[in-house]
């Protein structure tokens, strides 16, 4: 009989294309106490490296996964259980654990990419979860919906979550009329229209945050709340990241630019750089990003003071920043008066990846309140 106090730790599925991951090392030892959100072990895929965080509290009872070994997604890697659960039950659990096989026609555990033909063109998106609340994740400049790979499943536990590729990004249409904040916001409106989403909690990263604020200003009834992560639009400062990103022609140029995004530079794997390079080389991308960058951040300054423009009437706002943000200074976090502000240590511009557990918890709490 399986004791409900036993919780498996399995190889996670980060992003749609992940099928396997390599265990790098365990961060805890048998017998150590675990709280929800604690990082337990480090895993590396061909796209990214990250830590598997505990979804439950308990004690780490068994480490099954071995360092430097590759396992398919959903493989049992370890066991968390209450200290009162006997060893023999842990043994039995481990012995009887069966890797859930993908059956014919079975819904994939992870989100599927879909396309919406909107009034601004074809936009790619994923949809996950089925809660009453709707959340829309909006990526930043040069990003795509896969940026949210550590967040989407967690947020989908209690809500219907959408993540889209903005025009010019990911696999959405690579054309945008008059590239700038207004046209991107119109694209988000078009997306919501097409999918029949009347109002949603917007979670925006960087440029996506500015879009969320712009949306709140122009379509207040459609925005239930805002979560602004390392957001643009809260100050004039912006480093050279945007220009450097647009100008980078090869891997050598691009790697140091992408390293600016993270506090932990080792997260910038070769695969990550390659993926960005492949994206940048698609026809139309470079020109569009250049124009977009000029419109939003030309001359090394942020042009759209969307935060200021909101004044003091805006939906409930949560502002999250990574202290080590090298792209937009974390000081900007204080510039939206009345918002809940969290500046997390040991994280940079991609705080929602580097501190996924914390960020997910904050967002979930914000949506619930």
């Amino acid at each position: 009989m399986i004791d409900n106090r036993i919780v498996p730790i399995v190889m996670p599925k980060w992003g749609l294309s992940m099928t396997e991951g390599k265990v790098i090392s365990w961060l805890l030892q048998d017998g150590m106490k675990i709280n929800v959100g604690d990082p337990i072990l480090e895993v590396e895929t061909d796209k990214i490296a990250g830590a598997v965080e505990a979804s439950d509290a308990g004690v780490l009872r068994r480490r099954v996964g071995q360092a430097d070994t590759i396992y398919p997604v959903k493989t049992l890697l370890g066991v968390i259980a209450d200290p009162t659960v006997p060893e023999s039950e842990i043994d039995a659990f481990v012995a009887n654990y069966v890797l859930p096989a993908a059956e014919e026609g079975e819904e994939e555990q992870g989100p599927k990419y879909e396309f919406a033909e909107t009034s601004v063109g074809n936009l790619r998106y994923v949809k996950r979860g089925s809660g009453d609340e709707t959340v829309i994740l909006v990526h930043g400049f040069g990003g795509d919906l896969d940026n949210w790979l550590f967040n989407i499943d967690a947020l989908a536990e209690k809500a219907t979550v959408y993540a889209l590729d903005l025009p010019g990004h990911g696999q959405s249409i690579k054309k945008l009329d008059k590239p700038g904040l207004k046209s991107l916001t119109s694209a988000l409106v078009a997306f919501m229209d097409k999918l029949g989403i009347s109002s949603a909690h917007l979670v925006g990263h960087s440029m996506g945050g500015a879009i969320a604020m712009q949306m709140a200003a122009s379509h207040p009834s459609n925005v239930k709340s805002m979560t602004l992560i390392c957001s643009a639009g809260l100050g004039a400062d912006i480093g050279s990241y945007i220009d450097d990103y647009v100008a980078a022609q090869g891997r050598k140029d691009l790697k140091p630019v992408l390293e600016k995004l993270f506090a932990d530079k080792s997260l910038v794997s070769r695969q990550l750089v390659d993926d960005v390079l492949k994206f940048k080389r698609l026809d139309g991308v470079e020109g569009l990003l250049k124009d977009l960058g000029q419109s939003l951040f030309g001359g090394g300054k942020q042009h759209d003071a969307t935060g200021k423009a909101l004044g003091d009437r805006y939906p409930p706002a949560l502002v999250i920043w990574g202290k080590e943000d090298e792209v937009i200074p974390s000081a900007h976090a204080q510039n939206l008066t009345g918002a809940k502000v969290y500046v997390l240590e040991n994280a940079g511009h991609m705080v929602f990846m580097e501190k996924a557990g914390d960020v997910n918890a904050l967002i979930k709490a914000h949506i619930a309140s």
């Binding site: 790619r124 022609q249 492949k278 080389r281 698609l282 026809d283």
Partner: protein
């Protein structure tokens, strides 16, 4: 949307998308449509190994089957390029260069220079290269060194479907004469290839594997073999960096020098014959530029100084093997 397609499909897609984008792109070669003048099917072949299949229906009049006269039609492609078109001529096997080489190396390659900068010859000559197909001596060579040697030509040799599409698109958009080498044994290999158009710049090598102990510098079909060798060596704790040159002219000397400086040990793997090969070219440059950084003697792994044999047993010995690459790495590590 990136999906898995073969190199053959990727090349077809590149031609399709460029022909759609630019009406001055025309394609010519022997049997690139197939069935010309006969009573059977139109588009009977779409190229001897099917790379151009289906294009005839979409672009009527822009794919020309040619008589068996390489000199004439390769020259015609070059002449048309000098007059403002962007022809893609297929020289079925690069081994056939003998019957049309003058048009390529004395005409196309030299127009811009000889005419004082006042000519442009944006022609692409696609040709099959490489052994392993049991096609024997006159249909299996890796003649990349001969073309790399000629100033005025560019030489491209992709190792996978993603690179193949992006490099062929770049070749067509490029304004110089390009020799685009397609390894016949790689046509069926698959990779994730975006459906959208994209171009990969020339002169950019791809580091396909990072490693700190030894650099393996290679191109074409040998990239896969080098990766296999690297995997085997990794079991023994030797981490190899594998560099796919992608374009031989222009060549990415920066990446070659970086990797040689980083590891201090270099193995050049080349399917061409050893004398005056790409391997010897790269080795010499490394020896000249990275002498102080080298910890061991540079090794070259190439085919032997023989024509390509027919009998499968012999042909398999001819092509540099994973074992020979592993041995070369061990040899340079042995100091």
């Amino acid at each position: 949307m990136a999906r898995k397609i073969t190199m053959r499909q990727a090349l077809n897609e590149a031609l399709d998308q460029e022909m759609r984008r630019d009406p001055s792109v025309i394609v010519m070669g022997e049997d690139i449509v197939g069935g010309a003048g006969g009573g059977g099917e139109e588009d009977a072949w779409g190229g001897v190994l099917g790379v151009t299949k289906g294009l005839h229906g979409k672009y009527r009049g822009r794919l020309l089957d040619t008589p068996l006269s390489e000199s004439a039609y390769i020259g015609a492609a070059i002449g048309a390029a000098a007059c403002g078109m962007r022809p893609v001529a297929e020289l079925m096997f690069l081994d056939f260069m003998g019957v049309c080489f003058d048009q390529i190396f004395n005409q196309a390659a030299k127009f811009k220079y000889m005419f004082g900068g006042k000519a442009e010859t944006p022609v692409v000559i696609r040709a099959m290269v490489g052994a392993g197909f049991r096609a024997a001596a006159q249909h299996s060579q890796m003649l990349t060194p001969l073309f790399t040697h000629i100033p005025g030509l560019k030489v491209v040799c992709p190792s996978n479907a993603y690179d193949a599409k992006g490099l062929l698109i770049q070749s067509i958009r490029d304004n110089d004469p390009v020799i685009f080498c397609e390894h016949k044994n790689l046509y069926a290999t698959e990779a994730d290839v975006p459906a959208e158009s994209y171009a990969i710049p020339f002169g950019e090598a791809n580091v396909v594997r990072d490693g700190k102990h030894c650099s393996i510098i290679t191109y074409g079909m040998m990239v896969n073999r080098s990766m296999d060798a690297a995997a085997e060596l990794a079991k023994g704790g030797v981490e190899c960096e594998v560099v796919d040159l992608r374009t031989l002219s222009p060549i990415d000397w920066d990446t070659v020098i970086d990797t040689a400086t980083k590891t201090g040990r270099v193995v050049c793997v080349d399917e061409a014959n050893p004398r005056c090969s790409i391997a010897s070219d790269v080795s010499a440059m490394v020896a000249q530029e990275c002498f102080k950084a080298l910890k061991g003697p540079i090794q070259m792994v190439t085919a032997p100084h023989t024509p390509v044999p027919f009998s499968p047993f012999l042909e398999d010995l001819y092509i540099p093997s994973v074992a020979s690459i592993v041995a070369a790495v061990k040899k340079t590590m042995a100091n």
